[in-house]
């Protein structure tokens, strides 16, 4: 069919037709069948059910590109360090597949938390194949430095990551049933990605097949100044400073899994001269 004709370029297809013509004039339909089988075999080898046809809006997170470069030895660790990325040695050592997910943008500002910024995020993990066992997962949040006056002490934030245990519709508005997964105290004088361990929640959703009601992210300000409210951690598209680079700076859920085929991701370090 037309969707499979791309596997071999036109020149290659002509060659196949010529060869088949010389071989005794088989029907032209057979060459298409051959190509279809050829592509199906390759896709099966790659663990894909059909040929991916990416949409124009698909975004490749910089983190995944950097991870690939580090993993394949294309880039030296020193070069990557300048971007603040640390290779996830432990999770990667038990996985042969790393998947990244953006949230579904059904962003819900949790009502009743007027003093702080709290959001619920839904990540659709249904594309993870049944045979892939997830060993760990992390949530990456970007925070941007906020210029502040001389009062350094007022620059502290606490970022709390929760798993939402019940659907919001079933509980009193403003009172989500959650459990704390990870927490960190940060100062808003630096720009960097923060990584939070959300493995317990993702393992519950994937291994134990429990319902996925999402993650709740809460940013609390130790000192209740409203000056920099909602400006530091990039969890929302509509921030005062604009959303031009939202596609690259939005929260990212990363899963580490193994499909039981072959070895884990092993880093190839380039030999030094």
């Amino acid at each position: 069919g037309a969707s499979h004709a791309s596997l071999i370029p036109e020149t290659g297809k002509k060659k196949v037709a010529e060869i088949q013509g010389h071989a005794g004039g088989r029907r032209s339909g057979q060459s298409h069948e051959l190509l279809r089988d050829f592509e199906a075999t390759l896709l099966q080898m790659f663990g894909l059910r059909r040929r991916p046809q990416p949409s124009k809006s698909a975004v490749i997170p910089d983190y995944m590109r950097d991870l690939y470069r580090l993993q394949s030895g294309e880039e030296e660790e020193e070069q990557i360090h300048s971007t603040g990325l640390e290779y996830p040695e432990r999770p990667a050592s038990r996985a042969n597949t790393v998947r990244s997910f953006h949230h579904e943008e059904h962003l819900e500002n949790i009502p009743g938390t007027s003093e702080n910024s709290a959001f619920r995020f839904l990540f659709n993990l249904s594309s993870i194949p049944e045979n892939e066992v997830i060993s760990s997962a992390e949530l990456r949040l970007f925070r941007e430095q906020v210029d502040q006056g001389p009062d350094w002490e007022r620059g502290f934030h606490r970022i709390n990551i929760y798993e939402v245990m019940k659907p919001p519709a079933e509980v009193v508005p403003g009172h989500l049933i959650t459990r704390l997964l990870d927490t960190r105290l940060v100062h808003h004088n630096v720009t960097r990605w923060e990584t939070f361990d959300v493995s317990p929640a993702v393992l519950r959703w994937t291994r134990e097949k429990q319902p996925n009601y999402g993650l709740a992210i809460e940013v609390t300000h130790l000192h209740q100044t409203r000056t920099h409210q909602g400006q530091h951690v990039r969890i929302s598209r509509s921030l005062p400073q604009g959303s031009g680079n939202w596609a690259q700076l939005r929260p990212l859920l990363v899963t580490f899994g193994h499909d039981g085929r072959g070895h884990a991701l092993t880093r190839r370090r380039r030999a030094k001269r």
Partner: protein, 116 residues
């Protein structure tokens, strides 16, 4: 002599060894969903497995026996020149659901060839 040397070189080149085989994903129209690498060197094994088998050909005992039998009975084929060591590559791609995946695929590159 130079003549003798060139004959030896030609004979050596015919023996089982690794050859270049670059797979370009854009050639097969897959560069729209495979983000990286753009292609990779897969290599392939080709060449003769003549009697007596050289040490560097990583032969199995069975290959040695088969080659010995072939030398006296040509209806039994020689041992085959095949990959004896393979390595993995990582691929970064967009899956059927537009999700970005980094995956390690085993046995994609020939590292060494031998007579088996």
């Amino acid at each position: 002599s130079p003549k003798h040397h060139s004959q030896r070189a030609r004979k050596k080149n015919k023996n089982c060894r690794r050859h270049s085989l670059y797979v370009d994903f854009s050639d097969v129209g897959w560069n729209d969903w495979i983000v990286a690498p753009p292609g990779y060197q897969a290599f392939y094994c080709h060449g003769d497995c003549p009697f007596p088998l050289a040490d560097h050909l990583n032969s199995t005992n069975h290959a040695i026996v088969q080659t010995l039998v072939n030398s006296v009975n040509s209806s039994i084929p020689k041992a085959c020149c095949v990959p004896t060591e393979l390595s993995a590559i990582s691929m970064l791609y967009l899956d059927e659901y537009d999700k970005v995946v980094l995956k390690n695929y085993q046995e994609m590159v020939v590292e060494g060839c031998g007579c088996r």
